[in-house]
């Protein structure tokens, strides 16, 4: 079974139909959680990376800012992903075939994997290796803001 077939099957299940036929203000409510979660996520990413780039909190240890930022990042990401799954399931076939949705998902997977591996590893050593810290900071900003901007474009294509 291809992904598209699975999504078509889901759309016709009771849950899929209920989500798709629900009042458009229910969809709007998911979007509100999604945007608040996303703003918190992007702000946390910005906070962490401003520190790694040495543009803010230069006197604070990077680990301290990263620790606080990661908690907010986790909360924002959880809110955005959970609401995002519900938004996606309200029209899975339509979203799946949207090229900016595909781009957003690729960037999201890349951003999460990068943040959890290379970024986590190198940012912890930023005090000894400031250049590596700055490089991962730029990559992290590009990936996460790429997720946000491509997501914003989904509704326009």
């Amino acid at each position: 079974m291809t992904i598209l077939e699975i999504l078509r099957w889901f759309q016709d299940t009771g849950f899929g139909v209920a989500l798709r036929k629900s009042n458009h203000l229910v969809g709007a409510a998911f979007q509100l959680v999604h945007i608040i979660g996303f703003v918190l996520l992007l702000a946390s990413v910005t906070l962490i990376n401003l520190r790694l780039l040495g543009l803010a909190f230069a006197r604070e240890a990077p680990a301290r800012i990263i620790g606080a930022g990661n908690i907010l990042l986790g909360i924002g990401l959880a809110a955005a992903v959970l609401s995002g799954i519900l938004i996606f399931l309200s029209g899975p076939v339509r979203y799946y075939s949207n090229e900016f949705f595909q781009l957003k998902m690729l960037l999201l997977i890349a951003a999460v994997l990068f943040q959890a591996t290379l970024f986590a590893w190198l940012s912890r050593r930023a005090a000894e290796r400031p250049f590596a810290g700055k490089a991962v900071a730029v990559a992290s900003l590009l990936l996460w803001f790429g997720v946000g901007v491509s997501g914003r474009i989904i509704g326009f294509v």
Partner: protein, 164 residues
């Protein structure tokens, strides 16, 4: 009010407004940049608000958090306002009749009033509590108030396409 509507109609009918509204790429890119600006303005401000509320970064001196993030927050607000103005130029009349739009502006004004109260009423006494992990109740209230008001602004903005 009719002056406002006349002005909005003028923007709506202008060549630039029409081109922006009908463009395939410019409009979504401005929407995307508006979101990017929001992350710096309202987003970083939310982190300051949470520090004022005594929730995060408790061991970082409060004035340091305010000063370090201020230029990025101001830059973010400039970007948000500039892209927001372009969006208004493109949609003007449609926005004026949208119920979410006046709500968004009302809450921007309320958030501005809360900011002035903090800046003029509370900040001058900051030397007394600047290094406390948990600031006095008035300061915590100002932080939570800002967080709630700006969240409503973002949500009202997101509702614009749903109520238009």
């Amino acid at each position: 009010m009719s002056v406002l509507y006349d002005f909005a109609q003028l923007l709506y009918d202008s060549d630039f407004g029409t081109a922006l509204r009908e463009s395939q790429y410019a409009f979504p890119v401005i929407e995307g940049t508006h979101l990017l600006g929001l992350a710096f303005s309202v987003g970083l401000l939310a982190i300051v608000d949470l520090r004022l509320a005594g929730v995060v970064l408790k061991d970082a001196p409060l004035l340091d958090v305010l000063r370090q993030l201020r230029p990025f927050i101001i830059g973010g607000f400039i970007l948000t306002f500039a892209t927001g103005s372009l969006l208004f130029w493109a949609l003007s009349i449609k926005l004026l009749v949208n119920p979410a739009f006046p709500v968004k502006f009302l809450f921007i004004l309320l958030a501005g009033a809360n900011f002035l109260w903090f800046e003029l009423g509370l900040a001058p006494g900051a030397v007394e509590w600047a290094n406390h992990a948990i600031p006095p109740i008035k300061v915590r209230v100002a932080g939570w108030t800002s967080l709630v008001l700006w969240s409503v602004v973002v949500m009202a903005g997101r509702l614009i396409p749903y109520l238009g």
